[in-house]
Amino acid sequence: MIYSYCVIDSGDTLKERINGLDGAIIYTIPHRDIGLVSSEIGRVIKDAGRTDVLRHEEVVERVMGRYVVLPMRFNTVFGTEADAVDVLRRRYDEFKKNINRLRDKVEFGVRIIWPGERIREGIARAHKSSTAGSGAPGDTPAKRYVKEKLAEHETQKAFEREAEKHIRALESILQDAISEKRAERLKSRDLLLDAKYLVGKGAARDFRELFERFKKEHGDFRYLFSGPWPPYNFVRVRIPPKPLCAKGGVSEEALPPLKKGDRGDSVG
């Protein structure tokens, strides 16, 4: 079986000797001017063990030093080299498009934790005191209920506006250094932002410095900054199961458009 780590912008033999999972030697399975970085594996991986996961990542990072990499998801194993070549052949254009888009780019991760719960409580208190006395003594229970719901809604909106203010401040600082972003806001009340940024290698230093500037201006928040990573979050290659959108597979929405004549789903 063939364990795969990443697709690279070369079909040449790797210049460096690298050991992969179980100490197996890494080699390239070529197709035209791209290659699949792989090693042989004699077992089926049944769980995501720490050693295997870290080895996978280490291989991708070492290869990233010399080539453009499209990292494979952990535990992508082909039965034979012919299966791997078939994927490279059928999806060549897609791989090339991603390689060109991600050339000389790295990924950074940013998580920002703010005291969201406390901020929301403050907003709710302020709203309550500003509207004190607005409830008439003769209000019916139904009317009181509606007023409470309205107050909750307004508090939530004000809370989201407050979050948006800080996120926009960050983005306006970082915008000149980033190529693409994937950001989720307020995944929980305290997780203000969980973002991944695609940054040109030449702009990586600027990106760090700009982020440090934001941190200094927002010292009461907490941060997790990581990178540079291979661009895991920016690869857009999803090869669906057969048939398309089968149960448990990848949704059609998440898939790249299929070209005419490309079944895009199975080995012929």
């Binding site: 079986m1 990443c6 697709v7 089926v44 991986i45 049944k46 769980d47 995501a48 720490r50 996961v53 870290l54 996978h56 990542e57 990072e61 499209l70 990292p71 494979m72 998801r73 952990f74 535990n75 992508t76 194993v77 082909f78 039965g79 299966d83 078939d86 994927v87 991760g109 998580r111 934790i113 929980s188 305290d190 997780l191 941190k215 907490r222 941060y223 997790l224 900054f225 990581s226 990178g227 540079p228 990573w229 291979p230 895991y232 979050n233 690869v235 290659v237 999803r238 090869i239 669906p240 199961p241 057969k242 089968a246 597979g249 990848v250 789903d265 199975s266 080995v267």
Partner: protein, 72 residues
């Protein structure tokens, strides 16, 4: 205390690695590859762990920025 900080920092970085390696990158599904569902099940547990780390940091009030890491 210093050891605890180092361990915490390393674990947070491991979770960042897992978040990418197990769930992102080129995804090939179906019978063209030999895939194992158990990995996904383990990952579900890890996602819970990841949010637990965030909760732990919040409750402890420790500076999360102490976990700043290089992925190399």
């Amino acid at each position: 205390m210093a050891d605890k900080v180092v361990i915490k920092s390393r674990d947070v970085t491991l979770l960042e690695v897992l978040d990418r390696v197990l769930n992102k990158g080129v995804v090939i599904s179906g019978d063209i590859v030999i895939s194992v569902a158990d990995v996904d099940l383990v990952y579900l547990g890890l996602k819970v762990l990841l949010s637990s780390v965030e909760t732990m940091e919040k409750l402890r009030g420790a500076p999360f920025s102490g976990a700043q890491e290089e992925a190399s």
